[in-house]
Each structure stands twice: as structure tokens, then as C-alpha cells.
Amino acid sequence: MKYISEFRSPEIVNTLLGEIKKILKGSWNIMEVCGGQTHSLVKNGLLNMLPANIQMIHGPGCPVCVTPVSLIDKAVHLAMEHDVILCSFGDMIRVPGSGMSLLEAKSKGGDVRILYSPLEAVKIARENPGREVVFFAVGFETTAPANALSVVHAYREGVKNYSILTSHVLVPPAMEAIMSDEDCRVDAFLAAGHVCAIMGIGEYYPLVEKYKIPIVVTGFEPVDLLEGILMTVRQLEAGTYKLENQYTRVVETEGNKNAIAVVDQIFEITNREWRGIGNIPFSGYAVKSAYSDFDANKKFDINIAEAHEDTTCLAGDVMKGKIKPDQCPNFGKKCTPTRPLGAPMVSSEGACAAYYHFNLAGSVHQ
């Protein structure tokens, strides 16, 4: 199929690797922000093919991984105590809360359903007028339009038994938080292409200027990633810092205006707690008060004790790029995908799970 096969072609991958090796002189740490990119780098064995002088640091771009424990507890509470139909994406339901995961809630009788799209949750609400349906709406900017759209559909159709439990996070504030950390070792960023497909690329100019750092908006296929890396290395070797767009087939400079409009209609920017990282100002979305009938946080009285993180999980250090996943003492021992201690071991986009799977496959050695 066109537009997919070409971007996975081994010949082009080798050409790009050759280019990178040809121009590389220094030693660079490049952070890919998005978990989808981490997954692709690992799955396609690219980390092993890159020269040792290029270290990829895996950023906090896995929404499942950064959703706070307290919110998972809230979702579990809704499923168990309020008799709601609790819907979410597949990855989300395995993440450990402080008591149990949504999967465990399901096995204990909670009505927890895995959906592909939030729009399906509105359909379920229409078909079950006597029950409350809550969609656990996590995600970055990429997912915000779909979650917002579900509220728009429910609002327009007069579906009153639908609401969303939001834990929306935003990428640029997280990049800023990483850069302002004293221990930050990041020399350049690959910005998340699908986030930019929605929001455009304008938000990154201030970061480029303030931290004098190259940022290249990059796609997800092997050829995209290597071209993105090549573009950052060119800048790093030349001592320049610019915002560039590798992913022009998908990302337009100004983003998707229709998507931005629907997000603005439903959401407003708020401070947000990131699991493993802490509070980041203005780093998330909350439902606007005009739509509070669709905000599960307001609709239900959820009174539960604040949860504690497992203190032995080093997810925060992994996501800030301070350690590699397999440097965590729990990695592969107390913490595995079937019995995860922390969220990055759950989601296929989490750095810990990605490392675990690819080490098992034996294709890469760290």
C-alpha cells in the first residue's frame, strides 16, 4: 500500500543511516517526545542501528503513562460504586491504580468496556438511556478533537447520560518542563507529528529560541524517524537551532483548523498533574463550564482519598531521560507487562514495555 510500504523500506532506511553516519562528528542526545515514536524506534530495531554517538532519550509522550493514579482510582470508583458504564481505550484499563486497575474492577463485576473511539461511547449512551456512560478521556492534543467531538455529538443529540473523565495533557509545556530541569541532557527534540497535525507547529518557536535547541516535527515510520534524526544531526553539527518539519505530508504549519475549533469549544487550559513528573502549569485540558453536564468530575460526587505512587517505580526518571528503562532495578524482575508496577510497563507506547518486549525478542542489546 502506498504511503506506508515506502516509509518502511529497508533500502531507504540504509540510505538515511549512511547519511547520518557520514555527517556525524559529535555525540548527541535526542529526545523523541512521543510514545508512538518510542514504540516505532524500538519495534523496528532502529536504536540498534543508530551510531553509538546518538542516544535517543524517550520522553513523557505516553498519555497512559502520565495519567495520575488518583484519576485511575476515580475511574475505578465510578465503575464500582456508581454503576456507570465506564469506557476507555484498551491500554488504559490495565494501568494499576492504588487499589486496582479497571481490568480488575471489570473482573469484580464493574461494567468496564474497551472502545476504539470515544464516538462509540456516545452510541452506547444512546442505546442505554437508563444508565450513565463515562468515557475515560486521556490523551495528548492528537486525541483531544475526538474526545471533544464525542461531547459535541452528545450535546447536539440531547444525550444527557454521557460524560467524560478527562486527563488531557499537552506536549509543549512538558517539553518546557524537561528543558528547564537542571539535569536535562537533551540536545534536540523530535516533536510529535500527530500532535502537530492538530495544533500546527507555531507553539515550538518560543522553545527553539528560549533554549536554543533544534526541534524537528517528525512522523512515525522508520523512514520518518531517521529523516527526522538526520535533520536534527545536521543542525547540531552546524551549530544551528531551528524549527523544521519533516512530516510535511501530514502536518500543515497552522494545523487543522476544524480540530482546533472543536477543542476550543469544549476544553480550556488548566494545570495538570503528570504521573511520575508532578504538576506542570497550563499543561492540560479541562471541560469548559458551559459543558459541565458532560464533565464526570462535576457530575459525580467522587470522594476518595488521595492515592500514593509506588515509590520504587522510577518512571519519572525514565520519562525525563535520566535513566534508561532497563536501569530501573525493578525492570523485568518485580515489574513486567503482566504484573506492571508503573504505567510505562503497561502501554505499548511506554518506554519500559517497549524495552521489555524488544529485549525478549533478542533483537537489540543495550
Binding site: M1, K2, Y3, I4, S5, E6, S9, E11, I12, T15, C34, G35, G36, G61, C62, P63, V64, F89, G90, D91, M92, Y116, S117, P118, L119, E120, V138, G139, F140, T142, T143, P145, A146, L149, H153, R156, E157, A192, H194, A197, I198, F220, V223, E227, T248, R249, V250, V251, E252, N256, N258, A259, V262, S347, E349
Partner: protein, 85 residues
């Protein structure tokens, strides 16, 4: 879950009394439904990038071909053009 994949629009239908433009999109043969509300100009035959049931962007063919253009000039891609998947 941030996965967004390109697929080709096979057919277009309308939901909710015509207010919502939907498409059947083929991802290498697997057909799924996606809302076209974010890409209202997308038509049958276009490639769109779909994320959790919503098309978020049209894939620009010209741009998609650019990277191959410059590599082809370097004469690197000859084998690739024999394989149509």
C-alpha cells in the same frame, strides 16, 4: 493509543440526520469507520490519517513523494519500484 494510521476512503455516509460525515476507510484491506468532521473536504479515494475513529488530516501525496524524489535521484530506489504491495 496515540497511533494514527493512514487509510484510503472507500465510501462516505452521513450520520445523525446528515450532520456527521462518516467514511469507510480501508487500512490495507481492513475497513473501519471514521468521522470526517475534521477533514470535511476529504472524498472517496483520498488518504486520511485516522486516530481513534476520527480522521485528523489528509495525507498530501505530493509531499509524501518528496522524500522519495531526492533519494531516487541518488539512484537508491531502483529495487523498490518493482514491488507493489
Amino acid at each position: 493509543m496515540c497511533l494514527a494510521i493512514p487509510g484510503k476512503i472507500q465510501s462516505i455516509t452521513y450520520l445523525y440526520g446528515g450532520t456527521v460525515k462518516m467514511a469507510k476507510v480501508s487500512f490495507g484491506g481492513i475497513i473501519r469507520e471514521a468521522s470526517l468532521e475534521m477533514v470535511p473536504t476529504a472524498e472517496v479515494g483520498d488518504y486520511v490519517l485516522v486516530h481513534v475513529g476520527v480522521a485528523i488530516s489528509k495525507v498530501n501525496e505530493e509531499e509524501a513523494n518528496k522524500v522519495f524524489g531526492y533519494l531516487k535521484e541518488a539512484g537508491e530506489l531502483d529495487e523498490l519500484y518493482d514491488t507493489t504491495i
